[in-house]
Structures are given as structure tokens and as C-alpha cells.
């Protein structure tokens, strides 16, 4: 009996690290380490063609809570003034000449290239995905994520998370069919100030766009609070007014 108790206790103790790894909590920490709950930031998005030719976009973005984000195009002049809004699964695009917001879908891309609207208007991973499994792989965690609903752009994600920084390093995005749609690579960890230390570069490529690459560069990520009304269709023509 005593031996049985000791061996049971031993089994429980050796299994403890597996139970201790709470994937959902880990994913929430990844979200907060990537960005504060409410913030503003600038991004440059670069689409690189196989011959090296580039097209660049600069966006000003503000986010609040888990699933409210708006982004304004500052450059190039042909796109200046365009604004996109995301509220949960809902996305809209405002084009100044058209003059009214149009609903867009997550799989479209307002910029062309490998990034789609879901990448450009990314909300918290924990808002869109459930953790199916979490495991340790050397100095990394591997999180297998499953979309909460059919409205989410990618059905499954395989997220590799650095144990030390609790920041993602590589995310593979899969369709429901199991097809690899794209791979996201987080690079160049930088201290943005205000306690925000995260990758300053996000690169992506896709087997669907052979030899093409898209890169997102981050700058001036700052904590900032916004009123809920900032994240409405009526405000899309006036996002520029938020910039200081």
C-alpha cells in the first residue's frame, strides 16, 4: 500500500509540468506582451516582389480592448486617407473618394501582397482562438490553436513561443482543409518604452504566393486610452484627428 502511494505520488509529480502549462493563460500573456490592451502605433507594410520591386504603405493604428482596432493609411498618396475598422468579426474599409464605409472580409487584402485584412487588423489571438494543446519544445512552447468560429481567417494556428520572453517567434496559419496558407516570422525584439518590448519586424511568406514576401515594421507603440466612439463607422473619415 505504502509503495502504491509513493509510486502514485511520483507519477503525479513527474506529470506536474504538463498540467502546469496553461495554454489559455500563456496565449493571453502572448497577447499582452505583443501589445498593451489599449494603444496607438505606426506601421510600415512592405510588399516585396520576386524581382525585388517593392510597394510600401504606412499605417497609423489604434486599438482598444480585445477586438476593436482602426487603421489609417498615411502613405502612399494614392491610399492616403483610407481607413479600416474592425469590431470583432466585422470589418469595413473607408475610401475618401467613395465616401462611405464598405464591408470587407478577413481574407481580402486592402494592400495586396501576402498580408490579408485579418493580419493588418489583427485583434488579440485569445479573442479569436482556443488553445487545443500546449507543449514544451526545448526553449520554446508550441501552442496549437483552433478558431472559435468559422468567421476567423485561419482555421488553425501553430504558434511557437519563446519561453524567456513569452513572445511568438513563428506562427503557421492553416486553412480548414489543412493547407498551409502562410507563415509569420517575428523578429528584432526592440524596447519601445513604457514597458513595451516586442518584435519590431514581422515577415510573412506563403506557398500560395511563391517568391513574394511581405514585411511589417513597427514604430512608436504607445499605451493610450480611447473612447469607444472612436471605433465606429461614423468616425472613419476622422481617424486622422486622433494623431497628436
Amino acid at each position: 500500500m505504502k509503495r502504491l502511494l509513493i509510486s502514485s505520488l511520483f507519477c503525479l509529480l513527474t506529470a506536474w509540468p504538463v498540467f502546469a502549462l496553461d495554454g489559455t493563460q500563456l496565449l493571453q500573456r502572448v497577447d499582452r506582451n505583443l501589445e498593451p490592451a489599449s494603444y496607438e502605433m505606426y506601421r510600415k507594410l512592405i510588399n516585396v516582389e520576386p524581382d525585388g520591386k517593392r510597394k510600401e504603405f504606412v499605417l497609423y493604428s489604434v486599438k482598444k480592448g480585445r477586438d476593436k482596432i482602426v487603421a489609417l493609411f498615411l502613405s502612399p498618396p494614392s491610399d492616403k486617407g483610407r481607413a479600416t475598422l474592425r469590431l470583432g468579426d466585422n470589418m469595413w474599409l473607408y475610401i475618401p473618394d467613395v465616401g462611405k464605409p464598405m464591408r470587407i472580409t478577413s481574407l481580402q487584402s486592402v494592400t495586396g501582397g501576402v498580408f490579408n485584412n485579418a493580419d493588418i487588423l489583427r485583434i488579440d489571438y485569445a479573442a479569436e482562438y482556443d488553445v487545443e494543446s500546449a507543449e514544451e519544445l526545448g526553449d520554446q512552447y508550441l501552442l496549437n490553436l483552433k478558431a472559435k468560429t468559422g468567421e476567423v481567417a485561419y482555421d488553425r494556428l501553430k504558434m511557437r513561443v519563446d519561453k524567456k520572453t513569452v513572445l511568438p517567434t513563428i506562427i503557421e496559419c492553416y486553412a480548414a482543409s489543412g493547407l498551409l496558407i502562410k507563415t509569420l516570422r517575428f523578429k528584432d525584439i526592440k524596447d519601445f518604452g513604457g514597458g513595451i518590448k516586442r518584435p519590431a519586424t514581422l515577415e510573412t511568406d506563403s506557398p500560395l504566393y511563391k517568391n513574394y514576401k511581405s514585411v511589417m515594421l513597427y514604430s512608436e507603440i504607445k499605451k493610450r486610452e480611447f473612447a469607444d466612439e472612436v471605433f465606429t463607422l461614423n468616425n472613419l473619415a476622422r481617424v486622422e484627428d486622433l494623431r497628436k
Binding site: 505606426y42 510600415k44 512592405i46 510588399n47 516582389e49 520576386p50 525585388g52 520591386k53 517593392r54 510597394k55 510600401e56 504606412v58 497609423y60 498615411l74 502613405s75 502612399p76 498618396p77 494614392s78 492616403k80 486617407g81 469590431l87 468579426d89 466585422n90 475610401i95 475618401p96 473618394d97 467613395v98 465616401g99 462611405k100 464591408r103 470587407i104 472580409t105 478577413s106 481574407l107 481580402q108 487584402s109 495586396g112 468559422g150 468567421e151 476567423v152 481567417a153 504566393y209 513574394y212 514585411v215 515594421l217 513597427y218 514604430s219 512608436e220 473612447a227 469607444d228 466612439e229 471605433f231 465606429t232 463607422l233 461614423n234 468616425n235 476622422r238 486622422e240 484627428d241 497628436k244
Partner: protein
């Protein structure tokens, strides 16, 4: 030809500039370059040469050319300069959107300078905005038509993204975000004066018109209720909606009820009658993105204020009778009468009752990024006439948009597109942004 050579030179210069820019491989970004300035300025220069092949058997060719030398083709060159300016000081913003357009064809030339928008915006709180001045309001969810767009100039269904001139209004905007199924509520009331000096093409003068829009984001569906009170135009109200059904499909619709609509009809002999009725306009549409990045936009439009088949045919018969009279007597009274009534309705875009709009565009085929070929068709369901417009657009060079398109119009005698002035039209558009 000079314009065409100029266009080609400009394109080559832009392409060369983009190749030089591509040589630098390092990724750099300093947001300090994009700091906000109190005054922002932008715009574009657009050059648009086109050639139209004329349909000499059509009613509108006869109406427009009966007193001119006959011709098979008509070349036109159109140059437009659009300038946008924005000045911000505290809660107040001044917005200006002006344009200068010069047009020239084998028959005449014209120059139009105007402000599409010129208004002051006061926003003391994220949930409240007051706009005063000339504003281009855009209501409705449809791509080609907007039955609920009560206070705006009509959209060109052949070029839906063309900037449009606004009206002078005083408009407020109240918006609140909420928790729960109803996520957003926004209310936009507006006053629009109409006199011989202000908004004089909107309707009867000497009225201050009241209109309003109530927007709801309810259960992930955009819903608008719109209303225009009696004044320069007859009273009307409407509702629209838009919703994403899946990650790749959007569904939308509009419905409007208009009271006491006067419709001026003309007989083949030139006598006119006016009928009054209450009418319903509506539109249903969807946009679908396939896994191969093909976008389908399909809309059905019921135009309650449109002409029935026989009513439209009466107009075409009037033109033919008028031409017969002119050729035998030199008297163009009937043709002038036809020209006068056409301005009120028969000559407007899509003047009949039932239409289908289909646009299919393919994003970046053959791995050519920023290249989008598309094809658009507008079908008059009543008389089975239609237009087909294949289009190639390319935006791979920074700050340069190129578009080439050809429009074919097809229809029998006494059908809408069979009686248009053009049989087909080739158009090149080059737009340089700054």
C-alpha cells in the same frame, strides 16, 4: 495624339523611378517622418483619353447629331486635377476638395472648376460632430445604385468610385458604442437649404429640407433607417442593411418608399402627360470572394420611378418622328421637345425599371501583383439590352494607377442600350497621385 505620347512618356518615367527605388534592399522605418501637420495637402492628376464608336441608328445619336455632320467615331480627351486640403486647429477642421476638369472632343471643349466639398467640421467630443458647408454625403450599401441615397447626386454605375459633388448642409452626428447585441447607435440629422443660389439643382427652391439617418450595428449587421421630409422633393423613407455571411461573402440590400412621384411621359407625337404615384425602389446584392481571389459582385435593382417598356419606346418613336419631320421640312420642334424631356429622365443613367449588375474581378492573376482584370455587365432585365465592360487595371507603380477598359453596348431597336449614342467605347485612364 500629343496627349497619348505624353501619357506614354509619363508612364515610362514612373516605371523607371520605381525600378531605381527597388534597388535598395534594407527595410527601414522611422515614424517621425509621418508626424501630423496642421495643414495636409494631397491630390491627383488624371488623364483620360477615349474613343467612342457611334451607333448611327440609335435615338440618342439622332437627337445629338441631327444638325451636325455625321460621323462614325468621337475622340475625347479629359484632364482632371483634384486637390484636397485639410487644416486642423483644436476641435475644428476645414476640409476642401476641389477639382478642375478640362474636356475636349471633336465637337466642343469645356472647363469645369468647382469644390466637390468645402466644409468646416467641429468635433468637441468623440461622440459628436457638427459639419457645416458643402459635404458629399453617401447613404446606402449598394455598389451600383443607392435607392436610399436621398441627399446625394446619383452614382455612375459604370464607374462607381468616381468622386461626386456634395450639397451645402448643416449636419450633426451623434454616435454611441454599447455593449451587447446592439453595438453602435448613430444618428445623423441634417438641414439642407435650397434656393436659386444654393443647392439649386436639388429640387424646388425656397425650402429648408430636413433629412436624417439612424445607423445601428445590431447582431453584426449594419442597418440604416433614412428619411427625407417633404420640401424641395417629395417625402421618402428607406432602410438598408449589410452583413458578412461568411469570411468571404457579404450580403446587402436597400429599400425605399417615395411618395407623390411625378413622372413626365411623352408620346410619339410629342405630347406630354404627368402621372403621380407612390413608388418603391429596392436593391439586393452580394459580394463573394472565392479561394482563387476572384471577387463576384451581383446586384438586382428595382427602380420604381423608372419607365416601362412602352413608355421608353414612345420616346424613341418621338425621336424618329422628329428626325423624319426635320429631314422633310427642316423643322426640329419635335426633336427639341424630345431633347427637353430627355433631360428630365429618359437620358439619365438606367432610366428603366429592372436591372442586374455583375462584376467579376480577379486579383493578381499569373502572379502579377497589383494587376486586376475584371469584367462588368449591366443588364436591363425589361428589354434584355446590356453593356459588357472588360477592364485591366494596374497599380504596381507607387502613386500611379493605370486602367484600360472597353465598353460594348448591345440591344435591339427600342431598347435602352440599343438606343444609346455609343456602340462601344475604349478608354485609358492614367492617374498620378501627389
Amino acid at each position: 495624339m500629343k496627349l497619348a505620347r505624353g501619357l506614354a512618356t509619363l508612364v515610362l518615367l514612373c516605371l523607371a523611378a520605381s525600378s531605381v527605388a527597388a534597388a535598395d534592399e534594407e527595410f527601414k522605418f522611422d515614424a517621425a517622418e509621418f508626424q501630423k501637420k496642421p495643414f495636409e495637402f494631397s491630390g491627383y492628376l488624371e488623364l483620360k483619353p477615349d474613343r467612342s464608336w457611334l451607333n448611327q441608328d440609335s435615338a440618342f445619336y439622332k437627337l445629338n447629331f441631327y444638325a451636325r455632320s455625321q460621323r462614325d467615331t468621337l475622340d475625347q480627351a479629359d484632364a482632371t486635377l483634384k486637390l484636397n486640403g485639410k487644416y486642423t486647429q483644436g476641435f475644428t477642421t476645414i476640409n476642401l476638395r476641389g477639382s478642375v476638369e478640362v474636356k475636349s472632343d471633336g465637337l466642343s471643349s469645356s472647363r469645369i472648376s468647382r469644390f466637390d466639398e468645402a466644409y468646416m467640421s467641429f468635433k468637441p467630443d468623440p461622440g459628436f460632430t457638427l459639419d457645416a458647408g458643402k459635404v458629399a454625403l453617401k447613404w446606402g450599401k449598394g455598389y451600383a445604385w443607392n435607392p436610399v441615397g436621398f441627399v446625394e447626386r446619383p452614382k455612375n454605375p459604370n464607374d462607381t468610385e468616381l468622386p461626386r459633388e456634395g450639397y451645402t448642409v448643416l449636419a450633426a452626428d451623434f454616435v454611441r458604442n454599447l455593449e451587447g447585441d446592439l453595438k453602435t447607435v448613430a444618428f445623423t440629422p441634417l438641414l439642407m437649404p435650397v434656393s436659386s443660389q444654393v443647392n439649386n439643382d436639388f429640387g424646388k427652391p425656397n425650402h429648408v429640407n430636413f433629412a436624417a439617418k439612424l445607423y445601428l450595428l445590431y447582431h453584426d449587421t449594419d442597418i440604416d433607417f433614412t428619411w427625407l421630409a417633404s420640401g424641395s422633393r417629395t417625402p421618402r423613407f428607406g432602410v438598408d442593411f449589410s452583413r458578412n455571411l461568411t469570411t468571404s461573402m457579404e450580403f446587402h440590400g436597400e429599400w425605399a418608399r417615395i411618395f407623390n412621384v411625378d413622372q413626365r411621359l411623352v408620346s410619339p407625337t410629342g405630347s406630354t402627360t404627368t402621372t403621380r404615384s407612390n413608388v418603391t425602389n429596392y436593391l439586393l446584392g452580394l459580394r463573394y470572394l472565392t479561394e482563387r481571389d476572384t471577387t463576384w459582385i451581383l446586384e438586382y435593382y428595382r427602380n420604381g420611378t423608372g419607365y416601362a417598356l412602352e413608355q421608353a419606346a414612345d420616346f424613341y418613336r418621338l425621336v424618329n418622328n422628329g428626325l423624319g419631320q426635320f429631314q422633310t421640312t427642316g423643322n426640329d420642334v419635335l426633336l427639341q421637345r424630345a431633347a427637353a424631356v430627355s433631360q428630365g429622365g429618359y437620358a439619365r443613367a438606367n432610366p428603366m425599371q429592372r436591372y442586374l449588375y455583375l462584376r467579376v474581378s480577379q486579383k493578381e492573376p499569373f502572379d502579377i501583383v497589383y494587376f486586376i482584370p475584371s469584367i462588368t455587365t449591366i443588364v436591363n432585365v425589361d428589354d434584355r439590352s446590356y453593356t459588357v465592360t472588360p477592364e485591366l487595371s494596374y497599380s504596381g507603380v507607387t502613386n500611379l494607377d493605370l486602367r484600360l477598359r472597353m465598353m460594348w453596348l448591345h440591344g435591339e431597336k427600342e431598347t435602352e442600350f440599343g438606343e444609346k449614342q455609343n456602340a462601344r467605347r475604349l478608354e485609358l485612364m492614367l492617374r498620378v497621385y501627389f
